[in-house]
């Protein structure tokens, strides 16, 4: 339940932001990271940015998400 995805802030308006996560536009509330600026990378949990992270960290996770996506497309499902 405490999953969070990294995303780049691409629009800012008051406490609302739009963030980009591998091409998906995500709405994010930035009340918890008031220091955030346009172009920053953040971790988003349940619609709220919870911390600012560096670009390298974000890209590492994106790569992982991509790998997982590719992995899930393979026939690895556990039946039961």
């Amino acid at each position: 339940m405490c999953l969070a995805v990294p995303a780049k802030i691409i629009e800012l308006s008051g406490s609302d932001a739009i963030a980009d996560c591998v091409g998906n536009r995500i709405q994010a509330n930035i009340s918890l990271v008031p220091e955030v600026k346009l172009g920053d990378f953040v971790l988003i949990h349940a619609g709220f940015a919870i911390t600012v992270i560096d670009e390298e960290e974000a890209k590492k996770t994106w790569k992982l998400l991509e790998d997982l996506d590719n992995f899930n497309k393979t026939n690895n499902k556990v039946s039961g």
Binding site: M1, C2, L32, F48
Partner: protein
């Protein structure tokens, strides 16, 4: 990278040899539980390790009394239930939210903000927000409580069962029969509370606490750091997730939590009543407080018959030790919450390790 993994593996094995016994490491985060199973770490790491899945999944630790109270409100025609997805399948004494969805008033939300939006869009209904989760999720509830108050929203009711991680860890270590040598600490809870928050665990209980993110590599490195400490007989705070976690955590989030909630005693599945472990809205939010507005009295209720989720959550037994596991209790037809939630120990065990047993 392979070199680093090899080194970590050897560190773990060496620690096992030094101690001459199994090392019991508990993860207190459902997302870790799933990562560990999915990556096959339980089988890949040396036999001297025993990984325990602790009370880290909000759905799993929510007590029966709270679930029954939500179910009871879901039968009212004037109520809309706004809940995070996993909660809807948890069985209560009389059905689950999922079984009540025919009424059309159970709404799955992805963000606390959706609950506020539902209230605005449905002015003639009372919207009950099922506010569960640890410190990662709590600040969002605080933010919408503030927004609702400022905007004069009168039909949003927050049923807070937000929990604090540290008191649960302390409660586990205070149990006589516990077998926990160290904790793998949750990544995103720690983003909020900061790694320094684990000081009581290392100082008072002398148990290593190492924060990790969710990549399998990070988890392996965190475990090897824990094992190094165990072999040396030391206990300190470590982190392999510095990219997101600071010693102090997110001060803004901590401030909004402390301004919005009082810390009270609360019930946990398996752990019973834990002092100062649960967050309830402060007096200024009384008009939004579901417990006050609906007159809900929470009491400790017995778990469902035969269900041993409580012992699983405390790391006392493995899911396969429960008589219901994979027999009467399966992900398709769950009895206990650890089988309901995809992040529950029983569900992860069922999906990835059924039929295997490792003592």
């Amino acid at each position: 990278m392979l070199d680093m993994i090899n080194r970590a593996y050897k560190e773990i094995a060496r620690a096992g040899q030094t101690l001459g016994r199994k090392m019991n490491i508990m993860e207190v985060c459902g997302t870790h539980t799933v990562s560990i199973f999915r990556a096959g770490l339980r089988d890949a790491l040396p036999d001297c390790l025993k990984l325990l899945s602790g009370p880290g999944c909000p759905v799993c630790i929510t007590d029966q009394g709270y679930i029954d109270a939500v179910l009871s409100l879901s039968r009212r025609d004037d109520c809309i239930i706004a809940t995070y997805g996993d909660m809807i399948r948890v069985p209560g004494r009389d059905g689950s939210l999922e079984q009540n969805t025919g009424r059309g008033n159970i709404k799955i939300i992805l963000s606390a903000q959706d609950a506020l939006k539902l209230a605005i869009e449905n002015p003639n209904k009372k919207v009950l927000f099922v506010a569960v989760g640890f410190e990662t999720t709590t600040p969002a509830t605080a933010v919408i409580a503030g927004q609702a108050l400022r905007q004069g929203i009168k039909n949003l009711f927050i049923f807070s069962n937000h929990k604090l991680v540290i008191p649960a860890m302390e409660a586990l270590l205070s149990e006589k029969n516990h077998r926990i040598d160290a904790f793998l600490c949750p990544g995103h809870v720690s983003v909020i509370i900061g790694s320094d928050a684990y000081k009581p665990i290392v100082e008072k209980f002398k148990r290593p606490c190492v924060v990790s993110g969710f990549e399998p590599m990070q988890i392996i490195f965190a475990i090897s750091e824990i094992c190094r400490q165990l072999a040396e007989g030391t206990a300190s705070i470590g982190s392999v997730y510095q990219a997101a976690v600071t010693p102090q955590g997110n001060k803004t989030a901590q401030k909004i939590i402390s301004e919005s909630f009082d810390i009270v005693d609360g019930y946990w599945r398996g752990l019973g009543k834990i002092g100062k472990s649960t967050l309830k809205l402060k007096e200024k939010f009384s008009s939004l407080d579901a417990e006050k507005q609906f007159g809900i009295q929470l009491a400790l209720e017995e778990d469902l018959t035969g269900c041993r989720c409580g012992e699983v959550l405390c790391g006392l037994i493995d899911p396969c030790d429960c008589g219901l596991f994979a027999q009467n209790c399966t992900p398709d037809s769950p009895i206990g919450p650890c089988m309901v939630s995809s992040e529950g120990a029983c569900a992860a065990w069922y999906k990835y390790a059924r039929g295997k047993r490792r003592s």
